[in-house]
Symmetry: C2
Subunit: 380 residues, 2 copies
């Protein structure tokens, strides 16, 4: 293997595949990045037990030469060193050549590194996925749907299925749901699912989706999503992102969502978020970051309050756009509420309660493609 | 005590005094910020065992009112909560009023905090310093002199005196020296010391100087430096920064600095620094981040190299502006060299060697107000 490559293209691709490389792996070959040079370009691969990422740098693109391939071949190099080295090399191009004994000579300007490599034949094969159960969607929309749900997955392994986000297709809609059993985030969007017959419901680890969101660039392009038994592949022009799926049945969450309400508030999301954020300065020092909401219908406002013994107390008053229904005092996690409000991306939100002990909904005004649900906390 | 204050002024002053507040202190009152309102303005104080900081917000400045003092008085509030609260308050002004039982009511917009305070009479008095042994210097120069020396202090408590920077006045020059006994940084500058009779040499904890440098703003102004037995005070218009001094005699470092040299290199500081930085990618994984420098007089260049067993090796060639004297192979800490080069702020540097086992000097070309000294490392 021998090629000369534009350093910035190499750095980009290395940064992408590094998201899949863990220094903690017990499989030595997976501490490396696999580099494969073929006639049409260079492919980098990084992998761990959950995700595998492949990034392709074409030799030529739009009459611009990114790589000059002199000899095809393959090697695996220590990810930690290789990634730091390419970032700091002095010249705009980097020359990489395999020498005897799997040693790689990396030259850029007057800098020369020799790294001892590993045998590429020992590197695991990426999953083979048939492209039958595929659908396409805009990258921007996928990123948004992930961001609006993934924060609500469980971080506890006591019910592993809840550490993932449920992707479900129903009636030409993609529905994403995450819940840790104390709160729930749901987002749906129409997709063209005409080609998908067998796909109904999969659960993708939250960690995988977080890494995917870091790699995907906000751009006006589409992404292919392909599913087989236990793997999902997200595929853009030059990037393959594989994740394992979580096994087991995702709970039916539709029954959790209340349909009739006793108190409804319409409020500025920003003002409400800032009031909760300030109340949380004291609340988070307490046991569980709980704040109390009290409605004042006569003043058309709510109060957010919390007391931290031996430190003090806080009272925040927030005016409502509208406030209707029964009087209410309810306690909930300030963190859950802040997460939910941030995910909604809305100017005004509607909060619908069914009493102090029942789950309540936070939704944008006049939009039912997204909802956030929070269970209240009992305080005595 | 009762006053209304511009929030941004309060936030600035709180940020300054927070540099002196430690959450780890065993003295409960020092977890607080002392707030004192007098007719002319509000003073905040933070303190730990090493440093004390006092920041003053004048009631009026240049016809602009920062504070409306309604009632003078004093209180101590939990620094951790108070500092976070003032940053997040919603309005441009904050009203602070002491109520009964040392409780402070903090109101801004529709937000109201009540914090339980502590008795200001229990707060320790700041050191009383007579202003006899004072001198003045530009803030920018002081900041630069600290930055160019403080990194070289010892982090080990085995010789406590070496954890400080030696400030010495000789022949109308301020000389700052720091050494951890493996390297040394020295910077001097002329000052007007006509008024100082008894001041000769003090040692200021490196940590104090790092905090001072964070607080002082780069501006075209002067700072007063006042010394008594065991305290030093840095004083600007609205800020008092006290630090304890280290006790003991600072070693005479003048003898350490070699005067005659066998090999001299003049080299681009930036190219040299980048080459060392890359070599360090492998060197720092080894025992002690050591790189080897080899001179090649015929090519007018040097080589920086290092080998990391089982990983690989690196060779960096750097052209010299000039290279004269005996051939040399010498090993030294890449970190020490990078620290020294960054501190010099020079385009080209002169490196003067007296053999592979002797300390060597790094200086800017044609400027003797600053020098960096490094002891080589034996490699076998």
């Amino acid at each position: 293997m021998h090629f000369t490559i534009q350093r910035n293209k190499l750095v980009e691709a290395v940064n992408d595949v590094m998201k899949a490389v863990s220094s903690k792996t017990t499989i030595p070959i997976l501490t490396g990045i696999k580099i494969t040079a073929l006639e049409d370009g260079v492919t980098l691969t990084g992998s761990n037990s959950d995700i595998s990422i492949e990034s392709f740098i074409p030799a030529e693109e739009e009459d611009y030469q990114h790589v000059d391939i002199r000899k095809t071949g393959s090697i695996v190099l220590q990810a930690k060193f290789f990634s730091e080295i390419v970032k700091k090399l002095p010249s705009e191009t980097v020359d990489i050549e395999i020498q005897e004994n799997l040693s790689a000579r990396i030259v850029s300007g007057s800098s020369e590194f020799n790294l001892i490599g590993m045998d590429p034949d020992e590197y695991p094969q990426l999953p083979q996925i048939s492209e039958h159960h595929a659908f396409q969607m805009p990258i921007d929309l996928l990123k948004q749907m992930i961001r609006q749900t993934v924060f609500a997955v469980s971080t506890s392994e006591s019910r592993p299925i809840l550490t993932g986000v449920n992707f479900r297709i129903e009636n030409d809609e993609l529905i994403c749901v995450a819940t840790d059993s104390h709160r729930l985030a749901m987002r749906k969007a129409p997709i063209e699912s005409g080609l998908i017959k067998n796909f109904s419901s999969v659960v993708i680890p939250g960690k995988s989706l977080n890494e995917l969101n870091k790699i995907l660039e906000e751009k006006n392009d589409t992404i292919d999503i392909v599913i087989t038994g236990n793997q999902i592949l997200f595929k853009t022009k030059y990037l393959l992102f594989f994740s394992r799926l979580l096994e087991g049945n995702y709970p039916d969450t539709t029954k959790l969502i209340p349909m009739d309400f006793k108190t409804e508030i319409i409020i500025s999301a920003k003002e409400f978020l800032q009031a909760i954020d300030r109340a949380s300065l004291l609340a988070r020092e307490g046991k569980n970051n709980v704040v109390k909401l009290t409605t004042y219908e006569e003043d058309n406002q709510i109060k957010i309050s919390t007391i931290l013994p031996e430190v003090g107390k806080v009272e925040e008053f927030v005016p409502c756009e509208s406030l209707s229904g029964e009087e209410l005092k309810i306690s909930f996690s300030a963190k859950f509420m802040m997460d939910a409000l941030k995910a909604l991306d809305a100017t005004d939100v509607k909060i619908s309660f069914t009493g102090a002990m029942r789950p309540f909904l936070i939704r944008p005004l006049d939009q039912d493609s997204i909802l956030q649900l929070i269970l209240p906390v009992r305080t005595y």
